[in-house]
């Protein structure tokens, strides 16, 4: 008798678990719906809806009856682009980490609904926002493109196809998003201002005698006590940005790095030890400040011995759009002219 009871008990546990999850769901989706309502007013702003727009993206051309107002972005790069255009998305993937990694100059409003992780965005939460445009990323979202497109017209970009997410691709994607939002004028203004910003930055560098400054740029983190460094290569948007102000990247890998960086350990730094070392780390993982401080190899590198280390703010997002480029230039100029 005991055995049969066990089986029934298991069924009972299942039933109870189901009942439990029912009550949990009520509260969570209530707030999602509220946030969605709240957003409508924010984004239906100044510009009146004009006629149809057609944009190019990875899957061909997408035509919208009118420029999009309620946008859901599934990768932070596109979120930042949308914010740069003066629009807040109605939904963004992983708000909490966005705030950790992406500059506060591209801050999200509290009204932006979190739609889950970047790798598995919650399709139901997206549908509940009733977007009129979804901007998806090929790396993470290819498999769900059809479902996204069934919810709302979906643009998909693949910044890393071919030779990586370089500067031209950055502006190209930015302009396409601007067309979809009916913000082409704003986009032109943003990029023009950015170019002007570069000119001013170059002047500051020249004034400090730092034109044609050589450098190697890395984003570093710890993998179980061992330093892991993402060394950026010429085909990345960050190096493209710094080239605009006349700086010269010294990290040259043997092969093309599709994502625009090589992941290496501390040994590889000997290749660029005569350069100037610019780095980004997270505050709770200060690789070079603490972990490397007493490392004999690190201490023996020329740029350490000769004190040519430059730290950037932890929210310098290295895979972003125009705002990230501006923030990067500001950070680098300030660090090396100090």
């Amino acid at each position: 008798m005991k055995k049969s009871l066990n089986g029934l008990l298991l069924l009972l546990v299942f039933a109870l678990t189901l009942a439990g999850c029912g009550s949990a769901s009520t509260s969570s989706n209530g707030s999602a719906a509220d946030a969605g309502e709240g957003n409508t007013s924010d984004n239906t702003q100044t510009e009146a809806a004009s006629g149809p727009v057609t944009v190019k993206h990875k899957r061909g051309e997408l035509t919208l009856d009118k420029p999009a107002e309620r946008v859901v972005t599934l990768e932070w790069t596109y979120t930042e682009d949308v914010v740069a255009l003066g629009v807040q998305p109605v939904g963004n993937a992983d708000n909490a980490n966005y705030k950790v990694y992406v500059t506060s100059e591209a801050a999200l409003d509290d009204s932006v609904t979190d739609i889950g992780t970047r790798s598995e965005p919650n399709l139901e939460a997206i549908a509940a926002l009733k977007p009129d445009l979804i901007i998806a990323n090929a790396d993470n979202n290819t498999a769900v493109y059809d479902q996204l497109n069934a919810i709302a017209p979906t643009m998909e970009f693949d910044p890393y196809d071919g030779d990586g997410y370089n500067y031209d691709k950055m502006t190209d994607i930015f302009n396409n998003i601007a067309i979809a939002l009916g913000k082409e004028d704003k986009a032109k203004q943003v990029l023009d201002e950015l170019d002007q910003h570069y000119v001013e930055a170059k002047e500051k560098l020249a004034a400090a005698g730092k034109e044609n400054f050589n450098f190697a740029l890395t984003q570093a983190f710890t993998y179980q006590n061992a330093a892991s460094l993402r060394m950026f290569t010429d085909n990345s948007v960050v190096i493209g940005t710094l080239n605009k102000i006349g700086l010269v990247n010294d990290w040259q890998p043997e092969k093309l790095e599709g994502y625009g960086f090589s992941t290496v350990g501390i040994e590889s730094l000997s290749d660029v030890q005569d350069s100037n070392f610019i780095y980004i780390t997270q505050p709770d993982d200060d690789v070079f400040g603490t972990a490397m401080k007493d490392n004999s190899v690190w201490k023996e590198l020329n740029f350490v011995k000769e004190n040519r280390l430059y730290q950037l703010d932890s929210t310098t997002w290295t895979f972003g759009g125009p705002i990230s480029s501006k923030v990067l230039v500001d950070g680098v100029v300030e660090a090396i002219t100090k």
Binding site: M1, K3, S4, N6, G7, L8, L10, V13, F14, T17, L18, C21, G22, A24, S25, S28, N29, A32, A33, N97, D114, I115, G116, T117, R118, S119, E120, N122, L123, E124, A125, A127, A128, D139, N140, A143, V144, Q147, I151, Y223, Q224, N225, A226, E254, E257, Y259, S262, T263, V264, G265, I266, E267, S270, D285, D294, N295, S296, V297, E300, L301
Partner: protein, 683 residues
């Protein structure tokens, strides 16, 4: 221990060769390991650095980056090997090692947990956490495996189950706390990378101290190798020596895991290599084991460094698994003398057979629950749909609720279909290998299918997704063909099949780890898929799993009557004129294909194939067709439920179904294992 008995001079010669060979190998590998790294350092510079160190960049690199990595490899390999040798002695089990007993997995789980709950405390004494976890896991494996009455196979099996359970908990932690644990991922596969000497400084006093203690006590371990009656006449000392040996082994493994992560197979392979020489006395055995373990791990690390590419480091543990798993296969093939299956775990029961409920009412009850649950599950998720709106929305194509339901219906159906397929696959495979504790995941088929599918996802991302099920079938078939052709000579002996399956899983698992490390930049989606996910499944997957079910279930149904004869042991089954092997093979093939279909659709969801048939057996007994029918429904219910909960409780973040199944299923499964020993201790 079944080591070769030799004459005394021969033994000495062999002893010298095993020591000399091991030391030579170790010295060569030590030097080679210093030569390999990211920066290219000329050979003579390495030599200069070794003979006269100066404060230059390259010399520092050799001494303070490569040397600590190599030295930690020597210490870790040696310690794990000594732990393995001790465990083999005290359990009188040639398959024992800290990884096969779940100690490494337990230590690693607690360390990851500590990193999340008490990061400060963890940094001060990771060893304490690891030792606690290792000890708990070892006891769990020991008692679940039947304690002192356990057979070698049984103990290895229960250790592996404990590892699986803890592994799924660790996966859950990685997904729920991805920020806190992201630095730990590579470590999870075992890595020797060091920043400086701090790892070595932390580890070596422990390892040296404990190893010397083990040597001092070597007579105690010798005593444990005596036959049971002589040993038991020595009374309490034996029990004490066993307990002491266990603690020493766990401490050795734990201190290593706390610094380099879980690395398997060193502790299994090295002691056997040395025992091949005929060395029996532990005073001679343990140092030899240490040397060979060190050489093995440093060798694996050199290989890992050689295939290093510019995007990421290959985990040393994965290389070690690829080197070590064939050894497990070899051990199984050579050490398992009981070639035919008679006498070994021949009953499907985990206790006395029972049939408490009539089939008819149960069938109705199960069907009602399944249908009701599928319907109910469309109500829940990121957005709750009130019952009143449910039916109207089902038949409309516009409106928010309808849009959401269009997303939910296919994924619910995929979950139901895959759950049913896994359950039926479990019934078939359990029958075929006549082991109530087997299913597709345990005989290596799920890992094989996962590896195949993962290759499509990561290596050739451009390929159309309909190739995924084909790749999964190919992977599953290769794994199954290897496992079954190797165990063919043993008459498809259940234990041989399961152990070869473990080895297969280890190889495929290592391959998957390598793929993840190579493919991961954002790449957590592959990892989530592996743990089993019903996220965003579409009508395409419904068609795939539907096709598998439509083709294979009638076949299984038709074959069921033949399979039923396999409940008897091999001899009487042959007496009944049944081609035992052929029938098993048919059952096996059908089960493998069903599992491959499920893996292609929802990733490597484990446990359903184990639990669903058990549950049903408890309720209605052994009739195979009935059991198959009810198990299919139970499997469907489990996965639909996991899917529903996974998309509801943490919305908008999804919890992978495989994790939920593991969290629900493993306690039940461990309990079943324990019970099966308690009632009917296995040989």
């Amino acid at each position: 221990m079944s080591s070769v008995q030799g004459t005394r001079p021969a033994m000495n010669w062999r002893t010298i060769s095993i020591y000399g060979g091991g030391l030579t190998a170790l010295i060569v590998l030590f030097f080679v390991s210093l030569c390999y790294g990211e920066a290219s350092v000329p050979l003579h510079t390495v030599w200069d650095a070794l003979t006269g160190r100066q404060n230059t960049l390259e010399h520092n690199m050799i001494w303070d980056l490569r040397m600590p990595r190599t030295v930690i490899g020597i210490i870790a390999g040696g310690a794990l090997a000594v732990a393995g040798a001790l465990l083999q002695t005290i359990t009188r089990n040639p398959l024992a090692a800290s990884d096969t007993l779940g100690i490494n997995a337990g230590a690693y789980f607690i360390v990851v947990l500590g990193a999340i709950l008490f990061p400060g405390v963890l940094n001060q004494s990771p060893f304490l956490f690891a030792a606690l976890g290792g000890l708990i896991a070892a006891f769990a494996a020991y008692f679940m495996g039947g304690g002192r009455k356990s057979s070698p196979v049984r103990l290895a099996l229960s250790g592996m189950i404990v590892s699986m359970v803890l592994g799924s908990f660790t996966s859950a932690l990685h997904i729920f706390f991805s920020m806190e644990t992201q630095g730990l991922f590579l470590w999870g596969s075992g890595t020797l990378v060091q920043n400086d000497w701090s790892g070595v400084t932390y580890v070596w006093p422990w390892v040296v101290g404990i190893t010397i203690l083990a040597l001092i006590l070597s007579r105690q371990w010798d005593m444990l190798e005596l036959d049971e009656s002589t040993a038991s006449s020595l009374g309490q000392k034996v029990g004490l020596a066993r307990a002491g040996g266990l603690i020493i082994a766990v401490l050795l493994a734990a201190v290593i895991v706390s610094v380099i992560g879980p690395i398997g197979f060193v502790g299994l392979v090295a002691p056997h290599l040395v025992r091949l020489s005929g060395v029996r006395s532990n005073r001679l055995l343990l140092p030899g084991v240490f040397i060979w373990g060190a050489a093995l791990l440093v060798g694996a690390d050199v290989l890992a460094k050689m295939v290093h590419n510019s995007s990421m480091e290959l985990p040393t543990g994965a290389v070690m698994a690829i080197i070590g798993a064939p050894w497990l296969i070899w051990l199984v093939l050579t050490r398992m003398k009981a070639a035919n299956g008679s006498g070994m775990s021949s009953s499907m029961s985990t206790g006395a057979p029972s049939r408490r409920f009539a089939f008819g009412p149960m069938a109705v009850l199960f069907s009602v629950i399944t249908i009701a649950l599928i319907l109910l599950s469309t109500m829940f998720g990121g957005l709750r749909i009130p019952l009143a709106d449910l039916l109207p929305s089902l038949f409309r194509s516009d409106g928010l609720f309808s849009a959401v339901i269009q997303l939910r219906i296919p994924r619910t159906l995929v979950a139901a279909g895959a759950g049913a397929a896994l359950a039926i696959s479990g019934v078939l495979i359990q029958m075929a290998v006549r082991n109530p504790l087997a299913d597709a995941s345990i005989v290596g088929v799920s890992s094989g299918a996962g590896l195949g599918a993962m290759m499509v996802i990561i290596l050739w991302p451009g390929l159309p997704m309909y190739l995924l099920p084909i790749a999964a079938i190919i992977g599953a078939s290769i794994a199954a063909v290897v496992v079954f052709s190797l165990s063919w000579k043993k008459g498809l002996n259940p234990s041989a099949v399961v152990l070869l399956g473990i080895a297969m899983s280890a190889i495929a698992g290592a391959g998957i780890q390598i793929l993840i490390v190579r493919g991961a930049v954002y790449g957590s989606s592959g990892y989530i898929w592996l743990t089993g996910s019903t996220y965003a499944r579409t009508w395409d997957q419904v068609k795939v799993i539907g096709l598998f079910l439509v083709v294979l279930v009638p076949l299984a149904w038709w074959l069921a009557r033949r399979f039923e004869l396999l409940v008897f042991d091999d001899n009487s089954a042959s007496g009944l004129g049944l081609g035992v092997r052929r029938t098993r093979l048919l059952a096996m093939t059908t089960g493998v294909l069903l599992a491959a279909g499920a893996v292609a659709c929802v990733g490597t969801v484990g446990f359903i194939g184990l639990i669903a048939p058990h549950m049903v057996r408890l309720l209605t007994g052994h009739k195979l067709r009935r059991s198959m029918f009810l198990s299919a429904l139970a499997g469907a219910v489990m996965l639909v439920l996991a899917d529903t909960i996974g998309r509801t409780v943490m919305a908008p973040t999804e919890i992978p179904s495989g994790i939920l199944i593991a969290l629900i299923g493993t306690p039940y499964f461990l309990y079943l294992m324990y019970r099966s020993n308690w009632h009917r201790p296995m040989k």
